[in-house]
């Protein structure tokens, strides 16, 4: 089951790794799942340590990432099933949940999930008015009205009279 690696002793047998979240909870993960994260793989290659502490990722996010890694490490599942799992995985999640996921996957370097989540976030923002984005994500507009008008005037090439949907 474990991916064979020329590095040898580490991945010789099926092993588990303990990952601790910033909330202090510990998760038992098979090594074949953990090495799908480039950062975890590096840590495992450098140290014999079986306990990895992630001081930046909370319980809820870590549990989700581990669920994803374990599914993708399962050799019994076909690629199609994994793809539909990915779609299922990101659908219906709140923007903030996605945000912590994208940060966690960026930290752990789980590229595939990072891209999927980022795409989902982009889908939420797609074709929206600037005002909508500000309101939705609580972005404080610190421009004066004059300054904002000035930017729009300077970048006139990007500010045609296009009207976007305002949800």
């Amino acid at each position: 089951m474990v991916t064979t690696d020329e590095k040898g002793p580490l991945t010789a047998k099926k092993k588990s790794v303990i990952i601790r979240s910033c909330d202090g909870d510990e998760f038992l993960v098979s090594e074949s799942a953990a090495v799908l994260s480039t950062s975890l793989k590096k840590i495992l290659e450098e140290k014999e340590d079986r306990l990895i502490h992630l001081s930046d990722i909370d319980n809820k996010t870590l549990a989700m990432v581990i669920a994803y890694l374990s599914t993708h490490a399962d050799d019994g599942l076909s690629d199609d099933l994994k793809r539909s799992f990915d779609q299922e995985f990101v659908s219906g999640k709140e923007f903030d949940v996605l945000k912590y996921l994208v940060l966690a996957t960026d930290t752990l370097q789980v590229t595939c999930l990072c891209y999927t989540v980022a795409k989902k976030m982009a889908d939420i923002m797609k074709n929206k008015l600037v005002e909508w984005v500000r309101r939705e994500f609580d972005i404080q507009n610190d421009y004066t009205p004059e300054a904002e008008a000035e930017i729009r005037r300077l970048d006139a090439w990007a500010w045609d009279d296009r009207q976007l949907e305002d949800d």
């Binding site: 306990l51 990722i57 980022a118 982009a122 797609k126």
Partner: protein
Amino acid sequence: MQAAASCKKLRTPRPKKYFVDRLSPLPNDVLHRVLSYLDFLDVVRTSVLSKRWRFVWTSVPYLNFNMDWFLKYNYNERFECLEPQIKFWDFIKWSLLLRDGSQIIKICMYSDNMMIDQLNGLIRVAARQKVQELCFLGGDYTSKELEFPRGLCETLIVLTLNLCDTIPLRVTTVFSSLQSLTLRGVHIPCDTAEKLLSNGCAKLENIYLEDCQIKDLEQIDILACNLKNLTIVNVCTCDRFWAVGSFDSKLRICAPKLLSFCYIGPVLRGFALENTISLKNVSIRLLRVPGNYQVEYKNHLLCPARFIGLNSAKSLTLSTLVVKDRKFGLSRDKKLPSLFIRLKEIPWSRRKSRKALENRSPWKSRIEDIACLSYNVKFIQVSNLDGSEFVLELVKFLLQNGKVLQKMEIMHRGGERKQKNFKELITLPKASSEVVISFPEYSQRKIPWFDRGDSDPEYDD
């Protein structure tokens, strides 16, 4: 115990419970990743969100330009064609000029009416920027060439050209970093074909060609030492796409790492797979086969001797025409565990060919297939059955000879009319005692590309 030291630090503060900006604190590279899926017009407009956002767009390395918005909001009857075009290219040029100088990784551009001169300019910018991924969707009606300068040939990793018209492509040198090549609606002159397909593109893993023309080549060589997937759909070698015998060259494939090969298109004049020991899945569907092909095209794809190289395939998918000659081209030494037969509808207007089909010698007379069928094939799937004698006989033949057959899936075309014929199949004599016959829904098992365009005639009377 703190192994986290070597783990990349999360660069944002911990989530706070109170009312706070939900987007801006993300680090720039994560923001770039999110913005990479948006139209670049939306990306540029983020500059007025707040001061934090003023220059975020200038370093986004993924650019998507889409002319749709410019067409939709600049529609003007008097300048119906040109005005949106000019604004669109204006937008592209300003977005490139006002960047902060950081590298561009990907340029994707959709426009249904491309100005080739402008596009060639954009390609030169891409070359200067050492862009890794280039994607042009849309098309134009022009005979001008798309030109790829040397610099770009060396840096590109992914190239996708999906054009409506067959636009000629000229490349200066081999694509030494290219991993994935998708060409649709492209005219590939012979020197370009040689640079792209035969030699040099050492990193190429995926090739997808559809509706392309490759002209003036006696033999098309696909030589790629790292190629894993090769799909050729309706590629021809002469001007007339839909003419009989529109592929007038030989095709030779030499790819030791090839896993999957799919060919859909006209009969080939010659075909050889060499050194394809890794091959797993093969799908072959022929279109527009001339009625007298057996006489005129002796050395064509259909001839079993030309199936060299398919020997190690794990699954073989064939359409009606390939099996209509009552042979699968399976030789004794093939170790093929799965066989898929995708029958195609023969329109009633083509009764002649239908009749010819039904009057051929019976299946059992073809003994050369039996060895492989008997001892290797474990799974057979027959799709789109219409319940005629011909296909029932085929299923009977397969069941009687498949000694190690474990599973057979039969998918019939909609309609109740002949369903009871299929139910009778379960009671037929079988060579294997373990075989399980099931009748899944056709739609659940469709193969992309292969089952597309069923209206294409496979026969030509």
